[in-house]
Symmetry: C2
Subunit: 303 residues, 2 copies
């Protein structure tokens, strides 16, 4: 059996090259490749030779590739959905705890015990709803459970998420939000999920609720979120993503004490290829064996 | 069998009164009590009649009672060590994640991706040392494990802490710190633990290390901590306690971007009696049965 021919573009990366080598595949120029590992965004994406049977993208969300018309149905496409799930879950937990335990408020004040003490809440016994419970949701569920929280997972199919106390289909999102103490957004950005958090759904939450978004900015109607935060409809928001992104530095959300915005670092750029490498090596083995690939994109659906 | 006679001072609290009632005990004035449940601090602690066989204090750390000479060896004393362990552990996790995932830095800047992204670290694969691994350590260990961290527990005896990857006796604190990515302080304040974090032990840590203290301020030599933070010896500190406490509002630690200080809220005042009540009920049952009490104080040791 001849070895797989893999191109890594737009430039080589030691972790990815190591994975290619580990899988017994051969690094070749794009012209001769069966497989393209693309480490960039949609800008500069190359014209693909017919020899390319599979394109491995390195981002979890690929809506920008979809919008740019990069995907086609003449070959297999994979994204990195789930590869960064553990880190994104940890970041979601960090934002949720920083909010509920008033670390954010404390970082902006000096020993404000009279206001901070009564506002501290515990995850123990709280109900956390994960909207779009795929890889991040599966990784986050045991972390929340270790803190004593109950988890309600919401996903498209309603197929049970291991460890979640309850899994509901997306059609029952309102029911889930009504039960929520807090909400973590972990869904892809699609027509169905856009502005899933809006004036109406925010009103289903509680005055002590925190909303955390480690997925994509457009899941939240940010003007509605601002109104809810100013009006005391919910307690706060921890956002790793914004709409637009990057946000304007005079976005009014930055001026609110009950909001913390991290600059899209749930999966830090410096760790991206480290995290991707073992999944790529496994997918190369699967490709050679003719097996289904991890994180294959449903081209028509866009994720 | 006549019912236990319990006084609750300096004033009644519904959660504590409920626990007394649940245990089938009787509320009486202090003059007639076998048991005093004391919900205050050492100031105003009453002269005890000889009838009092057991005093249940409501704080986990009792060094202020010890310093005030309140404890005697003519009766049994219990503190609340361990009653608030779950909440304190959650707070420690919140401070650690807020630091390592740069939520603190992000709360004080606006989309500073160039500085924040490279500084984000993950707990997955990190080694977290818990100094003084009693109740808080036992509660924190599974939370850290759920995030993929390894836990080294350090306690007086070195007796294995369930779930910890390694437990070391306090005599091996230096060895533990040398292995640490991050440190959580959860020890009582005693002569042995005072200033356990000092210039010398800080130098055993790593430039990316965060130090979290949810125990007592004097465990840290704060001037040494300040030097280590300014000098890049460690990455940051998350403190729920200070020395002195409350701190001066112009304490230089407040001016550092890599420090977050929460105002002693790991166990918020508003939740104290809620958390204490089930332990008190259990201890009343044990007292009636002549069994050993939970969290009995070794009067000579001071905790």
């Amino acid at each position: 059996m001849s070895s797989l021919r893999v191109a890594v573009e737009p430039e080589h990366d030691p972790h990815v090259v190591g994975a290619v080598s580990d899988a017994g595949a051969e690094l070749v120029p794009l012209d001769h490749a069966q497989i393209l590992v693309w480490l960039g965004g949609p800008d500069g994406f190359p014209e693909l030779p017919d020899s390319v049977e599979w394109v491995a993208l390195s981002t979890a969300g690929i809506e920008r590739f979809v919008d740019a018309g990069v995907l086609d149905d003449r070959r297999v496409w994979t994204n990195a959905s789930g590869f960064y799930a553990q880190g994104c879950a940890e970041h979601a937990l960090a934002l949720l705890l920083a909010g509920t335990r008033q670390v954010v408020a404390s970082a902006r004040s000096r020993w404000a015990k009279d206001t901070v003490d009564p506002a501290v809440r515990t995850l123990r016994g709280a109900t956390v709803v994960i909207l779009g419970a795929g890889g991040i949701g599966r990784a986050l569920t045991p972390m929340l459970a270790a803190c004593g929280a109950s988890v309600i997972a919401v996903n498209r199919s309603g197929r049970q998420v291991d460890g979640a106390d309850l899994t509901l289909p997306a059609s029952k999102t309102d029911e889930a939000l009504t039960l929520a103490d807090h909400v973590v957004l972990a869904a892809p950005d699609t027509a169905e999920t856009r502005h899933v958090i809006n004036d109406r759904t925010l009103a289903l939450l509680k005055p002590h609720s925190w909303v955390v978004n480690v997925a994509r900015g457009p899941l939240i109607d940010q003007e509605a979120l601002y109104r809810a935060l100013v009006g005391g409809v919910i307690a706060g928001a921890g956002l790793d993503v914004t709409d637009p992104e990057p946000p304007s530095l005079d976005d009014p959300l930055f001026s609110l004490d009950n909001v913390v915005i991290t600059p899209h670092v749930a999966n830090p750029a410096g760790r991206l290829t480290t995290e991707m490498a073992p999944f790529l090596a496994e997918n190369l083995r699967r490709f050679a064996a003719g097996d289904d690939l991890i994180s294959q994109v449903e081209v028509g659906r866009g994720y």
